[in-house]
């Protein structure tokens, strides 16, 4: 036996504060985005189904946090990112892309707005250094550029990489509230502003909603009972389920991880590795950078045009306006056979002519079948007309069928 995907650069990899805890739980550790991360503890399928039915706890501390502050932070982010940033309500999140000048996607991000002068960008682990360098360079360039009326803009902005200082846990699944609500107390506007507490990093300025009032993509500052740890907690996630993402001081991640696991029976919670994180996000048809997105793919190709603001100028907008037609079209498909499609395998039409490539391919634990996404690069092909097509899985031509995502909502 020979595992073709083995990736053992563990020695050079960074570790999250939970690395030893993952090992003690018996996790299979893999190298991902320069980090040694748990792929699964016991079973990707069991962990996946437990998130769909109950709840799961994820260590996603490898993800990046970049904090942007200052009087000009909002207009700066409006220019660097594609979505409207400065105009969203405080204590809410928006999804956005960051593009290069050609309109290619540098990364996809979520942005937390704490006030008009304080924002946090949450970045993919593999892209954090690249994103930080790009955003910081844009800031320096803009600060040196005189406007038409001889003014210098963007003078009051700071961009700081907090990725090593902030830990991130995610609790996902329909029963997540059964474990999070009892463990958390609202501290609303009484958080320890005068002390050196975690939420002070972000300069909240407006009324903070209580945890139970949070709608999707809203966040609050709370304290975990007994362990007395402050956290920024958002109603968000990457699974297609109800859930929370919890930002805390990196030094406290271990304590919070143990605290949540000690109460796992409240929601039948299991620790969940990156393997199920990927199958969950893919069933929910959420894009993953490196698969559905990269610098050669435009937001139109990926079907993400709704995140391109029409209200403002941003880097990459000019290039995108010159693009008349989509260069590639993203489709989702399922397979009748049992072999699993993998990234970059060829898509063949009914005459076995190559028309595109697999973006993501995996096994759907919920539907118990192989599923995938693909970019169709042949401009003559209309995805909705695609009837008989095949995936070239190591020389086997496996018949595929176009489906409308998300896969976890498909009625059987």
């Amino acid at each position: 036996m020979n595992d073709k995907n083995a990736n053992n650069n563990e020695n050079e990899d960074k570790k999250t504060p939970l690395y030893d805890k993952h090992r003690n739980l018996g996790a299979k550790i893999v190298s991902f985005a320069g980090f040694s991360m748990p792929l699964y503890y016991k079973s990707i399928i069991d962990e996946h189904l437990n998130v769909r039915n109950n709840s799961g706890l994820f260590d996603i501390s490898h993800m990046g946090e970049i904090i942007v502050k200052g009087k000009d932070a909002g207009i700066f982010l409006d220019y660097v990112l594609t979505a409207d940033i400065s105009s969203i309500f405080p204590n809410t999140i928006t999804y956005s892309l960051v593009l290069n000048e050609n309109g290619g996607v540098i990364d996809d991000l979520t942005i937390y707005k704490f006030s008009n002068e304080s924002y946090m960008i949450v970045a993919n682990a593999a892209n954090t250094e690249k994103d930080f360098a790009w955003i910081h360079t844009q800031m320096l360039n803009l600060q040196k550029t005189k406007t038409d009326n001889g003014q210098y803009m963007f003078q009051n902005v700071t961009v700081e990489n907090y990725s090593d200082k902030i830990g991130l846990l995610s609790v996902q699944g329909p029963k997540s509230r059964n474990i999070i609500y009892p463990l958390v107390e609202d501290i609303s506007d009484n958080y320890g502003r005068s002390e050196n507490n975690f939420c002070n990093i972000f300069n909240f300025q407006y009324n903070i909603k209580s945890l139970k009032e949070l709608a999707h993509f809203e966040f609050s500052c709370v304290k975990f009972k007994e362990i007395e740890i402050e956290a920024v907690i958002s109603r968000s996630g990457y699974t297609g389920e109800f859930g929370f993402e919890i930002f805390i001081d990196a030094d406290n991640v271990g304590t919070l991880w143990d605290y949540i696991l000690e109460h796992k029976e409240l929601s039948n919670l299991l620790p969940v590795g990156l393997g199920a994180r990927d199958t969950l996000r893919f069933e929910a048809a959420l894009p993953l950078y490196g698969h559905e997105l990269d610098e050669t793919i435009t937001p139109y190709d990926a079907g993400l045009e709704k995140y391109l603001s029409k209200n403002k100028d941003f880097i990459g907008k000019e290039a995108l306006e010159k693009i008349k037609n989509k260069e590639k079209k993203l489709i989702f498909f399922k397979l009748a056979g049992k072999q699993i499609p993998r990234h970059l395998q060829r898509i063949l039409d009914e005459n076995l002519k190559p028309i595109g490539c697999v973006a993501s391919g995996t096994y759907s634990p919920l539907n118990k079948m192989p599923i995938g996404s693909a970019y169709i690069s042949d401009s003559n092909v209309t995805p909705s007309m695609l009837k008989n097509f095949y995936i070239d899985i190591r020389g086997n031509f496996e018949k595929a069928e176009v489906v409308m995502p998300p896969f976890h909502k498909i009625k059987k």
Partner: protein, 130 residues
């Protein structure tokens, strides 16, 4: 002489064990299945076909990866475990039992001596993978 409680392991993590007469069961080790994770598809070898040692006889696909199964010795496929078509997770649940992959005959029974017994295999895994 081989007895049927005895397992013989290859460095590529397959095992064989005497079933009856000259027919052996072939499977993958507990270590191998734990490295693969949830098995969702097994491409079984062809019945009647002869394979040389180290030749690929099939594939095991888990949620995250694909692995090849190699012949641990020169052999002939006498049968396959067709239960794996419907329940490939048998490989995870009982890698040394119900999760066997094929029934084989050794072309040269003396090849057994080139394989490892359970203790040697376990120390081989320990020294190479920990």
């Amino acid at each position: 002489m081989a007895d049927n409680s005895k397992f013989y392991f290859a460095k590529s993590h397959e095992w064989i064990s005497l079933d009856s007469n000259n027919v052996y069961n072939l499977g993958i080790s507990d270590f191998a299945q734990s490295e693969l994770g949830d098995v969702v598809y097994v491409q079984l070898p062809e019945i009647g076909k002869q394979y040389k040692k180290d030749e690929k006889i099939g594939e095991i696909e888990s949620v995250k990866s694909v692995s090849e199964i190699y012949a641990p010795a020169d052999l002939t496929i006498k049968g396959v475990n067709s239960k794996l078509n419907e329940t490939p997770e048998l490989i995870n649940n009982e890698p040394l039992g119900e999760g066997f992959i094929a029934k084989i005959e050794l072309n040269n029974p003396s090849d057994l001596s080139s394989l490892m017994d359970k203790d040697s295999y376990e120390s081989f895994v320990k020294s190479n993978h920990e």
